[in-house]
Symmetry: C2
Subunit: 223 residues, 2 copies
Amino acid sequence: MPRELSPAMEDYLLAIYRLESDDRRVTTGDIAQELGVSAASTTSMFKRLAQERLVVYREYGGVTLTEAGRASAIGLVRRHRLAERFLTDLLALPWDDVHRIADRLEHALPPEVIERFDGLLNHPRTCPHGHPIPDAQGELPERAMRPLSALAEGEEAVILQVEERDPELLRYFAERGLRPGRRVAVLDREPLEGALLVAVNGRPTLVSPRAAASVFVNGEVEA
Amino acid sequence: MPRELSPAMEDYLLAIYRLESDDRRVTTGDIAQELGVSAASTTSMFKRLAQERLVVYREYGGVTLTEAGRASAIGLVRRHRLAERFLTDLLALPWDDVHRIADRLEHALPPEVIERFDGLLNHPRTCPHGHPIPDAQGELPERAMRPLSALAEGEEAVILQVEERDPELLRYFAERGLRPGRRVAVLDREPLEGALLVAVNGRPTLVSPRAAASVFVNGEVEA
DNA sequence: AGAAGGATTTAGACTCGTCTAAAAACGTCC
DNA sequence: GGACGTTTTTAGACGAGTCTAAATCCTTCT
Ligand SMILES: [Mn+2]
Ligand SMILES: [Mn+2]
Ligand SMILES: [Mn+2]
Ligand SMILES: [Mn+2]
């Protein structure tokens, strides 16, 4: 009964998983935007996913993942992030390339290969961009995070993860040493545009507002 | 203009490539049988491949590969065999599994990854089953071969490659030490059924006719 | 409560890759 | 040179995944 899911179905499930939160159901429009497809396509995929009991679909009311749907999505996250780790650590490919490559590979990697990656890489906890890798049981650690842009002047923190989907942004991060594990401190905030002066590994670095919103550091978001 | 080919198109091109020979054009029926699809499907794919100038299609007369079509097929062979080598050598997966896995991966591996495999594995010359890997320019060495079953009593030879598509057969080969590089000598031939008594690395081993027809050794085929 | 505006679903079309069944062409054998 | 059996092509259908345009529903605002 858990026939193999098509790449398209997996991509929709993943998008739903990413956008899902306790308070808000995921709507047709959300997914259409996230995946760059039409709302009509999304409606028809919602129905197909519902047929397979991967989501609960309410007309005009969006979807929520079932347990099976969530498990599939988390499985895909695991495949994607382990693939990325493999590509950077073993094949030495640049971190701004691997997301795109993993986005195709993730659909073609059988469990044997994934588990070998995991072993060979010594059970990595995160992808190269700092995002946590679910374990084989689908468990994922909760981490308190806030964007670098939320830090007050004088505050210090450690980079946990960065937004991974824009290669240009990733190259910019790499140049400036903004990568997971690095210690940062906000030296100055430019109130008008929102630019930050940040000490990265001691070195003062100017960080644009968009970049600062795409870098996440440890700590609780303000209430 | 060289848009990315679909997995299906690649599979057809590969099948045509495998069956192509100087004297005989590849027919609809050949490919239908090779790929386990209907003749009707094959006809319609022939037309699509012809549209893309990957084959020359003659109604009721089969196809031949164009240069572009041959290049695509050889590229796929390179991806497949390097993927297999990676799976056995780096991930330590069994040689009877890797053909199946590579059959999916081959369609999802971008050039960067393939060239990293090639480097990391030290430019391997063959896949785990002994089949030669085309180089990045699509060059493939010609090798004179004959089936083990063609050896006369008393003859000696070295295994070059084995038929790779039947996992059961591969496990049988592995058990008996029949793998590329091994020296074999025919001690006795059983005329009725065609079974052979073969010395493999010195050890006398009974080899069934089907197996002996699937193991290829060095030497010219008789005229 | 009714109307406006926005989101969602439906309708209908298209491509790709597949199938079965029927029609057409081919090649061989008398 | 025609008849027959085989091969190939055509015709028509289907599912997956996508689109655009039109219809419908929902929400909110007056
Ligand atoms: Mn994907
Ligand atoms: Mn990542
Ligand atoms: Mn394949
Ligand atoms: Mn092989």
